[in-house]
């Protein structure tokens, strides 16, 4: 009990007492000894209560850097992240727990940052940077900011992941710039589920410095659309009907549209594409039974479903203006995120 009192007293209150001085010296010596023996943990702290795994630690799992979301006045930059981890908790290699998103200037200084707990598996969330809420002057006349966006996902890694065995389908993300007034996306990029490939076992870092990387695969996308717009999702059966041995390679094609909480808001029929044929499904914003954000914008996740084809096939996802029929946004298929700096 006495020790506890000394431990929590401010140092100024202890001056003038020899006994207490001895106790202080003893405690200081113990503290110094313990500090020198027990190294401090930097960025790693146990979260056994969350994981239940004996060696799990809460660390920065991966860092994803996006080049160049130029942002002008009246616009908002949106980073959308979907948790695509394994639905079975027992099979997960990692457990995303928190996301920190930073907007960086050319010299890497922080312009703005935000963070939030990671959503559950099958859900997505987004982080907004409104140009009008950033006080930096930006470029002359327009106020445009040329930036980097850095997203760091921290959480639990259950074990060392070894290359080849360590391919983890874990997340999907995208960048959009949209107009604050109308809400419609003007530019955007990033499609497909990401995989982490890494070998972070001790002693291997120097053997293959490129071992930790993120690759993207798949054709899914996350994008926002507003009232008066529609989402057009296309796919083509890549087989050429005029070549080969005459066999017909048919391709099933269907699309699902999901909300942030994972609910399916729209689904297409399932159709069969003959070799060489392409087809599109159109989803009107006005058909979605949700009010959405201010301006009616709905952030949606588009999933190519019912695919029975093991080969690559051409596809596209467009935002189409309902009144003119013009494509206002064509989401590029590749590449996805641009630079990835892994952290262990």
């Amino acid at each position: 009990m006495k020790v506890n009192v000394i431990r929590y007293c401010p140092p100024a209150l202890l001056i003038g007492s020899a006994g207490r001085h001895n106790a202080i010296r003893l405690l200081m010596a113990c503290a110094l000894l313990s500090i020198s023996i027990v190294p401090s943990q930097v960025r790693a702290y146990p979260v056994a209560a969350v994981t239940g795994a004996p060696q799990a630690t809460h660390i920065d799992l991966y860092k994803n850097i996006w080049i160049n979301p130029g942002l002008a006045r009246g616009q908002t930059l949106r980073y959308t992240w979907a948790n695509q981890d394994n639905p079975d908790p027992a099979e997960r290699e990692i457990e995303p727990l928190r996301i920190r998103v930073r907007l960086l200037s050319p010299d890497r200084s922080v312009i703005a940052q935000t963070e939030a707990p990671a959503v559950g598996v099958g859900e997505f969330q987004y982080f907004d940077f409104n140009r009008d809420e950033i006080s930096l002057p930006g470029e002359v006349l327009t106020g445009r900011l040329q930036t980097l966006l850095e997203a760091t996902v921290s959480g639990v890694k259950y074990r060392h992941l070894i290359l080849k065995n360590g391919i983890v389908e874990t997340f999907d993300d995208t960048i959009e710039v949209f107009d604050n007034f109308v809400g419609g996306t003007t530019v955007g990029y990033g499609r497909g589920v990401n995989q982490i490939v890494l070998d972070d076992s001790p002693g291997t870092e120097h053997v293959n410095p490129d071992a930790f990387q993120i690759i993207s695969a798949g054709k899914d996308a996350m994008v926002g659309l507003v009232t008066g717009q529609s989402l057009r999702v296309s796919a083509r059966n890549p087989f050429d009907p005029s070549v080969g041995d005459g066999r017909k390679f048919k391709m099933l094609f269907a699309v699902s549209v999901l909300l942030a909480d994972g609910r399916v808001i729209a689904e297409s029929d399932e159709i069969t594409l003959d070799p060489g044929e392409f087809h599109f499904f159109e989803f009107k914003r006005s058909d979605f039974p949700v009010s959405g954000e201010t301006g009616g914008r709905v952030q949606a996740r588009v999933i190519y479903a019912k695919l029975r084809l093991q080969t690559e096939f051409p596809s596209s996802i467009e935002i189409v203006d309902g009144s003119t029929g013009k494509t206002t946004l064509l989401l590029p298929q590749k590449p996805k995120e641009i630079v990835v700096v892994g952290s262990h």
Partner: protein, 308 residues
């Protein structure tokens, strides 16, 4: 005395050695310093717009970068102030070019210029690879700073040398699905990369790119086909498909026509590089690109000795 002479001789030898080392060192570094060129898919620039190339060096050693654009007439225009920029690790740099900086009159009616951009990159350290750098290309409205289009590319190193034929047909990036409405033109631009000396003694056998572009509807019916074209190394060629020239009625209300664009260009060469394609939807009235889709950037290893 003998010790003195020996010492003098030793000093002279050491001085000579130091001088030789001073002279030799730059050439050793220069020969080992990788030198690359990154070539972007073609894009058009209309009056009131500017083109912005951005290079991001994620980490490590600095790189030297210089951006250039060419138009179909082959004129080279420096971007930014045309000088070489040092891009330190962890930072990025943007190169700008306003349409008004180019004196060429451009296309009739709109003043649009079809351009090809490239970025010359020199690594600061010998034997460093270019992998990991990222580049982007944007067309920007000068009046308000908003981006009209953006194309982002990871710099992926393509080996140079070795044999092989590359036929541009089909494939994911080459088989584009998009829609156009009256008042818009779909423009496909094919660029045949120039003959870079790979330093391995290999010479291309037939460096021209020969072919055409086809437009299909959903059922695979041919809507339009360009003339055959022969594109010389270093040149690019655009193929326009005006929606108003299609006989198909399109969709009810908007007359929008959903199409599949399929360039077919045969390219035979001893090198592995291929032609580079871009696809744009252009507003006929303003000449501005409203939608841009394109291949990955091409990257060539040049070797050579830096002159900056």
């Amino acid at each position: 005395m003998k010790h003195f002479i020996v010492r003098i001789v030793l000093i002279v030898k050491l001085t000579a050695l130091a001088l030789a080392f001073c002279f030799l060192q730059p050439s050793i570094q220069a020969q080992g310093t990788p030198d690359y060129i990154v070539i972007f898919p073609s894009v058009g620039l209309a009056p009131g717009q500017k083109l912005r190339l951005t290079l991001f060096n994620p980490a490590g050693d600095p790189v030297r970068a210089q951006a250039q654009i060419h138009h179909s007439g082959g004129i080279i225009v420096g971007m930014g102030d045309g000088s070489v920029r040092l891009v330190r690790g962890g930072t990025f740099h943007s190169f700008d070019l306003n349409r008004s900086d180019i004196l060429a009159s451009g296309e009739e009616g709109t003043g649009r210029l079809q351009l090809r951009a490239s970025c010359h990159i020199r690594m600061a350290q010998p034997w460093r690879r270019i992998d990991g750098l990222a580049v982007s290309m944007e067309t920007i409205e000068i009046v308000d700073g908003t981006s009209n289009t953006i194309l982002v590319g990871e710099v992926i190193h393509h080996p140079v040398g070795g044999g092989g034929n590359d036929v541009l047909v089909g494939g994911d990036a080459r088989d584009v699905l998009m829609g156009i409405v009256p008042g818009q033109t779909l423009r496909a631009t094919i660029f045949n990369p120039p003959l870079f000396d790979a330093g391995d003694g290999s010479r291309p056998q037939d460096p021209t790119a020969n072919g055409h572009v086809k437009i299909f509807d959903q059922s695979g019916i041919l809507l339009a086909q360009s003339d055959n074209a022969v594109i010389q190394p270093g040149d690019f060629r655009s193929f326009d498909f005006d929606r108003d020239a299609f006989s198909s009625p399109g969709e009810t209300g908007t007359l929008r026509q959903q199409v599949r664009v399929n360039p077919f260009f045969e390219f035979r060469s001893q090198r592995l590089s291929r032609v580079l394609a871009s696809f744009e939807i252009v507003d006929n009235r303003t000449g501005k690109t409203e939608v841009l889709s394109g291949d990955q950037c091409l990257v060539f290893f040049l070797g050579g000795i830096p002159d900056n």
